[in-house]
Amino acid sequence: MSDLSFKPISLAADVEERSRPSLSYWQDAWIRLRANKRAFASLFVIIGMLVFACAGPLVWHIDPDAQDLDQTSKPPWGDRNALVQSYEPWAGVTSAEPQGNNLSPESLEVVGDATTTFVRLVWDPVPNSNGYRIYRQIVEPRVGDPLGLPIGDTKGATSVSFEDRLDIKPKSYWYSVVAVNEQGEEFPEAATLKVDVAFSTTIANAVERGYIEDENSVAIGDTIKVPLHPLGTDYLGRDMLSRLMEGARISLFIGIVAPFLFVIAGVIYGSFAGFIGGNFDHVLMRFADFVIALPFLLFMILFKLLFGIGPGESGILPMLVALVVLSWPGAARLVRGEILQIREEGYVEASRLLGTKTPRLILRHMIPNTMGVVLVTFTFAVPSAIFTEAFLSFIGMGVTAPTASWGSMCNDGIKTMETTPHELIFPALFISITVLAFNFLGDGLRDALDARMRYGE
């Protein structure tokens, strides 16, 4: 054994600082949560949604219930130009008696501009016909398929014009003209023309809709700008952005306040049952079991029917009450279980020995120690409350029109899903993002707060 085997160590270099500041439960949880990128990002998404719901109307002033039937189902960032027109009655066009042997009304064309105020069509006459039938469709008619909506008839082979003023929207239409014989039967050939319609308005209409301040500021033939709708409009011409804000207020209000209330109810009920114990606990828990066994959505619908929404009411309150009344037992069970455990902990025993009174024992030691579990329950209850609200509004059992919630907006949007999908996509997206964020945050909180679940995944 050489001298090298035994060498005095230098003390100074090896002494490690092994202390770190002691952390409270919540500080520790906060650090864990921050380390979880997904959960932390979700927290910001949720804050963003709340800001959108509450502060949004301060920035974006448009009334969510204001309808503009001239601008229905506009896509996001739609064209804002409007041609100012005046309407003069049109005498129409009468042709000479048809010559030749063409079977379909050829050379179908538009007279003047095709605008939402009117579309005027003329065509060449068809021999042996007794009139014409005009069809309109929003997609190109395929061979063999119906031509669309019959919007008018003309009488006589020589009346070869038609003026369409029927609820025209600024988009493309396919007009078809078919000749009909004496018996009113259609000729087999049809002429079809695609017409791109521009948005136009009359001066009186523009003033009424609030597009312009006074009628002297524009002249016929000018182009004016209609109000901006960044996310488009719905089927009644209501601004999607402001409706999404109103919907966010209502969906998040129900989604957050209802779970908050029933979790509090659950904490009170559960801690009483757990602390007092014995037969009292038994009876309370049997009652909770009973409420849990009730079919949830059926009772939500019954509640809604019972409250009977009067005119001018939104139907939010009945939904809130029903959610709280039916959902508290889950939280109560959980808290009771926690209290039963905590009751036997050493620090409770110690505190009791030191003479702490029961109320203080419950408030100071027991309930704070259940808060981790309660917070996780609350976070997971929010998405399911939002889903419930959306589901009920979707089947027409939720908030009443014109109140917007994300669910009722989806319900409205489905009707126009194939032509203007944005009316469904936006509210559905908001529901999904919010639900997802709360789920991720719940996962993160569970990992951060609940020691037993920490190694689960």
């Binding site: 019972l306 899903m417 529901i431």
Partner: protein, 310 residues
């Protein structure tokens, strides 16, 4: 075991009685008039109608008649559709909902267990990540969006193919059932996948699996006999809530796909204020759901003897 079953059944009967009572009194205290119609009803017709529906008697007497009929399995008359018994409506429409629901449960159950097990086996590799992304979609998108998007996708597929690959709406053949059942089961499937993944991850790293591996048991056998069988247990516990979820989810899916099930009829009755049908179907649904939960509990008690001791 028998005591446990009897106790659960007694609880169930009390719950159903409560549901029936609440439904009855809610229906009889509603604002509005059940016989109000756009047709002007003369006094005489009104009296006859009330006599026919039993509305002329005092409420307490009505309640006892109603309860007696319920016990005898008679759910009463429709208020809107003349001479239509709620029993007939249930008999005609419930089987449709039941078939759809069973198919959805099967799809959700098998899908959830399989996907969940796969994600646990391929933890943090691409099958896991891909399936988890789908699960995230499944839990965060509402069922009615799935239903409409599913239907739209069907339309697009049929248009692209040039013939009807699968029917877009309606009822009758197996082809009609597939997409609605899938849509209906999707949310539950996502939930079960998540649950199964957690439970499977625990099992994968357990001692008995390591022992089996050490013994040289083939992987396929470890998977089917040791891992899957043990991991499936917690999935059974959530079957009850899943059945409830799928039953009520049917309200939406049946509406979107035009399926003549009881769920669609129920929503229609609520919208038409058909109090007779609402009362009858609510009690029926309530009894059905309570029975299902009891059956699942008993099934669980059979599988896991510890439950019975509670």
């Amino acid at each position: 075991m028998i005591r446990y079953v009897l106790w659960r059944l007694l609880q169930g009967v009390i719950t159903v009685w409560f549901i029936a009572t609440v439904t009855f009194f809610v229906m009889h205290n509603l604002p509005g008039d059940p016989l109000a119609d756009d047709k002007a009803v003369s006094e005489k017709i009104r009296e006859n109608l009330e006599a026919k529906l039993g509305l002329d008697k005092p409420v307490v007497q009505q309640y006892f008649i109603y309860m007696r009929n319920m016990v005898g399995g008679d759910f009463g008359l429709s208020f809107v559709h003349e001479n239509r018994r709620v029993n007939e409506i249930i008999r005609d429409h419930f089987p449709v909902s039941a078939i759809l629901g069973i198919l959805a449960i099967v799809i959700a159950g098998f899908g959830g267990i399989l996907w969940g097990a796969l994600t646990a086996l391929y933890r943090n590799r691409w099958p896991d990540i891909a399936i988890i992304l789908l699960v995230i979609l499944g839990i965060s998108v509402p069922s009615f969006v799935f239903a409409t998007v599913g239907q739209l996708a069907l339309v697009t597929i049929n248009n692209l193919a040039g013939f009807e690959v699968l029917p877009v709406a309606g009822w009758g053949t197996v082809a009609h059932m597939l997409i609605p059942a899938l849509v209906l089961g999707l949310g539950t499937m996502a939930f079960l996948t998540r649950l199964m993944r957690t439970s499977m991850l625990e099992i994968v790293s357990s001692d008995f699996v390591r022992t089996a591996k050490a013994k040289g048991v083939p992987m396929a056998q470890i998977f089917s006999r040791h891992q899957l069988r043990n991991a499936v247990l917690p999935v059974v516990t959530v079957l009850g809530p899943s059945i409830a979820g799928i039953t009520t989810g049917g309200f939406v899916v049946e509406n979107v796909f035009g399926i003549p099930g009881l769920g669609r009829y129920f929503v229609l009755a609520v919208q038409q204020n058909d109090y007779g049908v609402i009362m009858g179907t609510t009690v029926f649904y309530g009894a059905f759901l309570v029975l299902m939960v009891i059956l699942v509990d008993i099934l669980y008690a059979v599988i896991d003897p510890r439950v019975r001791l509670e």
